[in-house]
Symmetry: C2
Subunit: 101 residues, 2 copies
């Protein structure tokens, strides 16, 4: 079953900000921005599966990431271009802010 992802033009500002307002999710977004597409399993080790599932859903439904099955696992990819087109400069400014804490 394919997971639900919003189209680029359906991405809502409040959902993007909500997704980024959680430090754990922001950490995932920063990692994806730095290293590119990453298998779910190698992000956030030691976090309970139900918590992970929740975070992936908030990020996916907010339009921040693609979550796609690759073999038996999901790979997460940051929707950098979609976000940039939808809300120019927003993601870079949040990533920069996160880097200066």
């Amino acid at each position: 079953m394919a997971l639900r992802h919003p189209k680029a033009e359906e991405i809502r500002l409040e959902d993007v900000l909500t997704a980024l307002s959680n430090p754990t999710r922001l950490k995932v977004v920063r990692t994806l921005a730095e290293v590119g597409p990453t298998p779910c399993g190698s992000l956030l080790e030691g976090v309970p599966k139900s918590t992970l599932t929740h975070h992936w859903r908030v990020l996916r439904e907010g339009g921040l990431i693609w979550q796609e099955a690759v073999g038996r696992e999901y790979t997460l990819t940051l929707r950098r271009d979609d976000l940039e087109r939808r809300f120019p400069g927003l993601l870079p400014s949040v990533l920069r802010a996160a880097g200066t804490r």
Copy 2:
């Protein structure tokens, strides 16, 4: 009794993003950005007082606004310079994003 406001250097990214992730609070921030300091009472007419109090607290404790008693009422002022120093470009990019919805 003076209300609690974080110092500029104590403002946390997650609190700023949480404050901005609510459409009602974002609307208040946009108004303050456009018109400058504004009495509480003339923002968000028709919203229950307890809801207003909640929104002002989230904005104030997140470091987005000064909430200061002026006569018998509070005036809200956007902490634009503090936010810009703390997280350069973040607020302008969110305001721009909010304007393009």
